[in-house]
């Protein structure tokens, strides 16, 4: 590629690029600057007090971890198997394959608030209420709770896991498949023993990206399980829970005393951002490690 000499258009597009870099650093810098001051061990390990103007965020951290854990258990197997189908079994021209691909790309585009409506209408009102009726329970699963919030997030994150895993599976060179099949392994044995282990960093990347996205989403869980304020921790799937992202929203918009809440709010955002930031960074690193592995080999 010829080296670009300095010219007005390159300077203009360069300035646009710098603007984006500046925006990213302004957001991260602002939140770091005002967020780290109030951080302490106590802040991370105690519940909120005095109408959220004092105390910590432990229930929100605990709830978020539990939420994404359940979500991951649900979404990773389904996502990985779907990716295996798309990468190893599907014939690109078959109508089923095209429908699955269409569904994945459209699922990725459904607004997150619509997932919230779906979670409430399907999981809570239909499945949950149905379970309560079938099992003769009092109101248990027919209400917003941890389980349904996690399932709603799992559906939302399906495309993330599928796309990332499929990309990783496709990067495993064809030679590996041929070699394994030539040695007499069946197709499934090849996938399970050769392809999947090779693509493991990619599978992990998909899971990490899903966790990161799941930890930050608020709109889908507002009506499916997240609680406004709940100092005690959830101990059953049918309990409500506090969530970091929702806690940020609540404190930012509904605090009785904005100035008193501000340091806590900033530190909560700092914690949420650090978690998603570190997860994304490790996903980026893993992905490039996988790319390098097959480029060299």
């Amino acid at each position: 590629m010829a080296k670009a000499r300095f010219s007005f258009p390159t300077a203009l597009t360069g300035a646009m690029t710098l603007t984006i870099v500046f925006i990213v650093f302004a957001i991260l810098g602002n939140i770091f600057w005002f967020g780290h001051a109030h951080l302490s061990w106590e802040f991370l390990t105690t519940p909120p007090k005095e109408g959220m103007t004092a105390g910590g965020i432990f229930p929100a951290i605990f709830g978020t971890v539990l939420l994404v854990f359940l979500m991951t258990i649900a979404v990773v197997p389904i996502g990985v198997v779907t990716a295996i189908y798309l990468s190893e079994y599907a014939r690109e021209t078959s109508p089923l394959t095209r429908l699955v691909r269409l569904a994945v790309s459209n699922l990725a585009g459904v607004p997150s608030i619509v997932f919230g409506l779906f979670g409430l209408g399907f999981f809570i009102q239909f499945l949950g209420a149905g379970m309560d009726r079938a099992l003769h329970l009092d109101l248990t699963f027919g209400q917003p709770c941890l389980l349904w919030a996690a399932m709603t997030l799992a559906v939302l994150n399906m495309p993330v896991v599928i796309v990332t895993t499929e990309e990783a599976l496709k990067q495993v060179p064809e030679d590996y498949r041929h070699a394994s099949l030539a040695l007499g392994a069946s197709k499934w044995q090849t996938i399970w023993r050769v392809i999947l282990p090779q693509a493991l960093p990619g599978v992990l990347t998909g899971a990490i990206l899903a966790i990161s996205r799941g930890a930050g989403e608020v709109a889908p869980i507002m009506f499916t399980g997240a609680a406004y304020f709940l100092p005690q921790l959830p101990h059953a799937l049918s309990d409500q829970f506090m969530d970091l992202g929702y806690h940020v929203y609540v404190m930012a918009t509904q605090s009785p005393d904005v100035e008193a809440t501000k340091p806590i709010l900033y530190s909560t955002v700092f914690v949420l951002l650090s978690v998603t930031f570190l997860l994304n960074l490790s996903a980026i690193a893993l992905r490039s490690a996988l790319r390098r592995r097959f480029q060299r080999g």
């Binding site: 010829a2 258009p9 597009t13 939140i31 269409l102 459904v110 996205r213 955002v269 949420l272 951002l273």
Partner: protein, 303 residues
């Protein structure tokens, strides 16, 4: 033995295909169950007394909680449109410009730095962007531009732009990078300078991908909730100014669903808005994915 393992292989393949179909089931279930709760608007006379299609589109007032509830969609649709417009006006030049710079002019080391930076922006949760817009950006913009209400369309649009930039940048950059080197070399050999090559040759060659990126950005902007909910002020005004407070379709659902009575016309109406959002984004994304398909086939030399 052999026959048994062949049967097992078949069974595994079938099971895998069934799991893959859960994606199709999911999208259908989403549509069905969101629409199901909106259905009384068409079937129940009792609901229609308050909320019907005619009422949605003939009044310009959205006032669902009052003795005389009024469900005019006009301010919400206008609000969504205004915020999306500002967001795209901000994000398209920045996203496409930066993609052009990154793929055509940036040295390799800068490229390795720029792409992760944008990925980090894409990874910032929308509630954090909403928080930033509410606390920091709103005050900053008000000081610079000196308008009246701190939380307004413009503020929400810019913050929404932050969320849309990564989509537009990433896909445009991919499309630009995928343009064959031979095209650029031919242009340079004919005496065009690098900028002329980028502007007249590379950019047009990647136009399908860039258009797809803009469509995906549009889909994201229409449906984004938390940023708009926190940054726009949420007053359902029916005005043209971008410096007025405003309320979008998505933010309306988020703000009101928590307080609505179950099975009430208001509840059905919120689900109807959800159906509307689902349908709009569905077609926008369908358009984008058809374009990406076209691009892939074109690059594979089949078109």
């Amino acid at each position: 033995m052999k026959r048994k393992s062949r049967a097992a292989e078949k069974a595994i393949e079938l099971a895998i295909a069934l799991v893959a179909m859960s994606t199709i089931a999911s999208i259908l279930l989403i549509f069905l169950f969101v629409m199901r709760e909106a259905l009384p608007i068409f079937t129940s006379l009792k609901v229609q007394k308050e909320a019907s299609l005619a009422r949605f589109f003939t009044t310009t007032i959205w006032q669902p909680v009052s003795d005389w509830p009024r469900y005019g969609f006009a301010p919400l649709i206008l609000g969504t449109f205004k915020i999306t417009f500002v967001a795209l006006l901000f994000a398209i030049p920045l996203g496409v410009g930066a993609a052009l710079f990154t793929s055509e002019f940036a040295p390799r080391r800068a490229k390795e730095f720029l792409k992760p930076i944008v990925e980090i922006l894409a990874g910032i949760p929308s509630v954090v962007l909403g928080f930033f817009a509410l606390i920091v950006l709103a005050s900053f913009l008000q000081r610079v531009l000196g308008y009246g209400s701190r939380l307004n369309t413009f503020n929400a649009g810019i913050a929404l732009g932050f969320a849309v930039i990564p989509t537009i940048f990433t896909i445009s950059e991919d499309a630009l990078t995928a343009v064959p080197k031979s095209l650029r070399e031919a242009s340079l050999a004919l005496g065009a300078d690098p900028w002329q090559t980028a502007w007249r040759v590379t950019l047009p060659a990647a136009q399908t991908g860039i258009l797809a990126s803009i469509l995906l950005g549009l889909g994201r902007a229409i449906g984004e909730t938390m940023i708009v909910l926190m940054a726009s002020g949420n007053a359902s005004l029916f005005t043209a100014s971008v410096f007025d407070s405003t309320r979008s379709l998505s933010a309306t659902i988020a703000a009101e669903l928590g307080e609505v009575v179950f099975g009430d016309p208001h509840y059905n109406t919120l689900y109807f808005i959800g159906t509307l959002l689902f349908t709009m984004t569905f077609f926008v994304n369908l358009g984008a994915s058809l374009m990406v398909d076209r691009l892939k086939r074109k690059l594979a030399g089949k078109l």
